[in-house]
Symmetry: C2
DNA sequence: CAATTATACCTAAGAGTTTTAGGTATTCCA
DNA sequence: TGGAATACCTAAAACTCTTAGGTATAATTG
């Protein structure tokens, strides 16, 4: 797995986008989903994930719903209308960032029309 | 300009790649270069840039050469052989990261073959 | 069936990177 | 001549994430 430094700043974007796609998810599910989807290349640590979920909720971007599976609680998160808006803006932001990085890292590719 | 959160972790990669491309550059030049190349979307703050240059030098990835323009000093940085290696690895790392992010943010694009 | 693994939540201290907010000095230009 | 641009630098604070715990239930496996 590559250095996690790069992950910084993308956690919120990832969470918002996944909830946008999947409708609702719980914390543990999100962490497993990302791990599986990227073949273990990208792992969200719980120490970062849970506090971020709480923060997004307190900011009004997420709402929660508690579900019990037997005696074990799951906390499902889903987007609020404000969360929907924020998702769009975060994704756009990431796209612009990625484009800027490509411009810096591969300047020639942007001149002669080569893809990648 | 977009939030700088995303920039975290990419500073070293940017510096190494620019020196790889341009041969040698000085700190102020790097900051202006990035700003111009990205139409101001991406700005490296000096408070982050200079300490990072010093760190890369102390790690043996960069070497310096002082040049005086009149009485004003410029400190040119360039890659050492170790810096060359590190550049390759950092770029690869970023590419993998960007690919993983695309997979998460745009899963359908990766299934039906659409580009972007 | 006891022990390990997986599920599922959480927090606090510390590490690491960047921003903010300064500082110094030279050169150019209006 | 005074402000903007050039060119370097640092220290404190802010912010995000990792590390390293903690609790508890359910499933698996030897």
């Amino acid at each position: 797995m590559f250095s996690k430094e790069l992950l910084k700043g993308t956690l919120k974007t990832i969470i918002l986008r996944l909830l946008d796609e999947q409708g609702k998810m719980y914390g543990y599910e999100i962490s497993q989903f990302v791990k599986n989807m990227t073949d273990g290349k990208l792992e969200l640590t719980e120490g970062a994930l849970y506090p971020t979920l709480h923060k997004l909720e307190s900011e009004g971007l997420l709402k929660t719903e508690k579900v019990f599976i037997g005696k074990r609680a799951r906390k499902y998160y889903s987007l609020t209308p404000a969360g929907n808006k924020e998702t769009i803006s975060k994704i756009k932001e990431f796209q612009e960032f990625a484009a800027a990085m490509q411009m810096i890292l591969f300047p020639k590719a942007n001149l002669d029309g080569r893809i990648k």
